[in-house]
Amino acid sequence: MYDPELFMPLPAEEKSSAEIPRPSRTYWQDVRARLMKDPLAVLGLIVIVIILAMAIFGPVFSQYEYDAQDFMVSNEPPSFEHWFGTDMFGRDLFVRVMYGARISLAVGFLASMISLCIGVIYGGISGFAGGKIDNVMMSIVDVIYSVPTMIYVILLMVVVGPGLKSIFITLGISYWAPMARIIRAEVLRLKSEEFILAARVLGASPSRILFRHLIPNAMGPVLVTLTFSIPGAIFTEAFLSFVGLGVSAPMASWGVLSSDSVGSLPVYPWQLFFPAGAISITILAFNFLGDGLRDALDPKLRK
């Protein structure tokens, strides 16, 4: 029933031809592919990109300056000339919200990056050193953790003085504690893995083990925490500006804009609506992205 030719021995080179190699994909390419399958995360990412683009390019292309006052049009409702209306000084609110996005996002990203750097190094050393050093270093984190962040931030702001730079510093040094904890937990988990033992057997220096082996493998949870800490920083900045400890006029962050509009809320509600809406949408977008990232990085789903 079969062609006898088919019963000839199969040459070795044809055996390997039965194998079609799968394309090489790195861990991060895998993560990206999984992330792109999560519609909410993609939505979050698109929103963040749009907001970023508007923050960077919006004010440049706008016909209005963020600090140009025009008393002829003060407190205008939204219209074709002024999409978000104007404030009491006749400044265009659309350009001010976009300009505010620069400050708010810059605070969010920079403060998170500062906390990331401190947290990764501190947590990495603590987890890697272990023993007494770890105990002492983590007790310090516990103390920092036990003081409510807001009190701590406000105290620091009062000492350092309001302004953009001090917001970066203050948020950076108050947000690193959770980051350090996460890195330490990851490092502790990874430390006994065989590839770390292999590096020790090879005589790798502690810093090599920490920076080449431990931290790159701990980056997944760090990235998720980072994504969640950016909206936290944005919100804290907004709050600080709201209570008057943030940036000062004529600079505008979303917190300043919200704060300015509260007095006239019953009469000109849109003045609060737009900056507050911007804050909410941004925080929501980062949370969507963070949730998606967490799922995409989950090793249990990894095959």
Partner: protein
Amino acid sequence: MNDEILTVKNLHTSFMTGAGEVKAVDGVSFSVKRGEVLGIVGESGSGKSASMLSVMGLAGENARVWAERTAFKGKELTPETVKALRGKNIAMIFQDPMTSLNPVLTVGYQLRESLRRHNWQGDIHARCVDVLERVGIVPAEERLKQYPHEFSGGQRQRIMIAMAIICNPDLLIADEPTTALDVTVQAQILGLLTELRKASGMSMILITHDLGVIAGEADRVLVMYGGKIMEEGTRREIFYAPAHPYTKGLLRSVPNPERPSERLIPIEGQPPDLLNPPKGCPYVKRCPQAMRICLEHKPEAKVLSGTHKTSCFLEVKE
């Protein structure tokens, strides 16, 4: 035919994963007779566990299971009837007992619970003490009050066995029951299983990768590779007259106790990529006797004797 406890005909299982469809089981047929031990031997990814989980309706949400026929004691199995039989007429034990024992409940509670679930007629407490004694956990009265973490690995596996046999099942499916245990404890557990089987006359499906365990325990053996049955036969047929090149290769790749220092003859190559399986025989890439036909065509099972079957074109050729 009515001495067949479990009948499975042409079973297919695929798992839908993020990377694509994994064909874990591809056209598997077998049966288990009353009182016998059917050994299923295969390497990781051979589909030996997946086929059992599929029959039991435990393959998971991402699994697509299809079979021409599955029957228990001649009665067709449906998802509902399988659920009713599970734990009562068909029991399972797994490699890691901790995944099947609830750590926050006492052993006694968990034993009583399985009796109640299956409407045990009779004294529940007496039954629990009895099974625990039979698996060698003594003093049973006291140990019933303990939690799983208070037992050693071997004792936990004994408790799992107690839970499995508590309703007097007709069939026990043991999936790598001793893989996580040391050899001396493995010998104890295998001895216990034999003893319990002889006392109750239950059938057993023993899934393992260890040829030694199969040689010692099984009456009949299925050799699986790449989701298919390569060879089926009695223990003696498989070990003394293997017909399939894979079975032969497997037996050659373990050290010969007679000539321990003789060079080993490994099976070359790597296990098949289940995401991207060969079109024909799954073993074609590693088979030293592969032919052109094996690349494109799937071999049918060829009957060699009343008990011995193999799926290989070498048999068809002759």
